[in-house]
């Protein structure tokens, strides 16, 4: 059953310093050798600072703890898939920034699925502000709980 009562529930704010070594490591992992990630002088001249890759906010996993999550209600972690991921950007994020993230449950709903029976969707949103108090980004994640264990395809 989709537990609508958890919609709006928020975790505790977490701090996420944007570190150059982590940005470089992430850029290498996604096979992006763009010098803007690796040459701070060039990046400063062209952009105003060393930027972060589009999906870099996924590394918030290193900065969150049990209290940062809004809680998953009755979701069964053994039957969960990452269905969708979205990022929206409002201001640039640079190495040296310290972001504050707050994650909340945005939606819970059900759909009839194919392979896995009834599916329950959990949408969480993390809003990030920088050290100046500006809203810089929102990360929106959709997790899918399948009706039964997911089969290999």
């Amino acid at each position: 059953m989709a537990d609508k009562s958890i919609v709006g529930r928020a975790g505790k704010p977490f701090k996420m310093p944007i570190e150059w070594s982590k940005v470089r490591e992430f850029a290498r992992a996604i096979k992006d050798p763009d010098l803007l990630y690796f040459d701070p002088e060039k990046a400063k001249k062209e952009l105003g600072g060393v930027p972060v890759p589009v999906t870099f906010l996924q590394t918030s996993a290193f900065w969150t703890d049990a209290d940062s999550g809004p809680g998953m209600g009755s979701f069964d972690l053994r039957r969960i898939l990452h269905g969708e991921q979205e990022f929206e950007f409002f201001k640039p994020i640079f190495v040296g920034d310290t972001l504050t993230g707050v994650t909340k449950v945005a939606d819970v709903y059900e759909k009839e699925g194919g392979r896995g029976g009834k599916m329950t969707f959990l949408v969480t949103e993390t809003e990030y502000t920088n050290q100046k108090g500006e809203k810089v980004a929102v990360s929106r994640s959709t997790l899918v709980e399948t009706g039964q264990a997911v089969k290999a395809n």
Binding site: K31, T59, E84, F89
Partner: protein, 140 residues
């Protein structure tokens, strides 16, 4: 920051240059796990996946989405992406060749900013869709 895309010159249907990775590897998944902090064992622990009835480890969806984001920023310029959305379909297995691309579907002006919108896609070597997505990027 300077937009790289020329709003007037872009046409609906214009395609993003393809970014092809021939044969993704288990070390790619391990490197992404370390870089991202996603330590779900399905992506590097062979004993774990076999016990779950899956033949081999497979790519993190967000690893493949990262490759797709590189195709987008190579074209639109780093710092110009305003929105990036992906939906995961077929899994990506070790040895798969993935092709990341997309196309322009709309041009709009919002709050004084020229924006280009489009679809994104990642295909494997069999032509199956691994990721479907969309983007919005700033143009000049």
């Amino acid at each position: 920051m300077a937009a790289k895309l020329k709003f007037e010159a872009l046409k609906i249907g214009d395609e993003l240059p393809k970014f092809v990775v021939e044969g993704v590897t288990r070390p790619d998944f391990v490197r992404y796990a370390g870089a991202s902090g996603d330590f779900v064992p399905l992506h590097y622990d062979q004993a774990f996946v076999e016990a779950a009835g899956i033949p081999t480890v497979f790519a993190q969806g967000m690893f493949t989405a990262g490759l797709l984001s590189k195709a987008l920023t190579d074209w639109a310029g780093i710092g110009n992406v305003r929105q990036f959305k992906v939906r995961f379909s077929t899994r990506v297995w070790p040895g798969d060749t993935v092709t990341c691309t997309g196309k322009v579907t709309n041009k709009v002006e919002k709050n004084g900013e020229k924006l280009v919108e489009g679809d994104l896609i990642v295909l494997n070597q069999k032509g199956e869709t691994a990721i479907k997505g969309s983007f919005r990027a700033a143009a000049a």
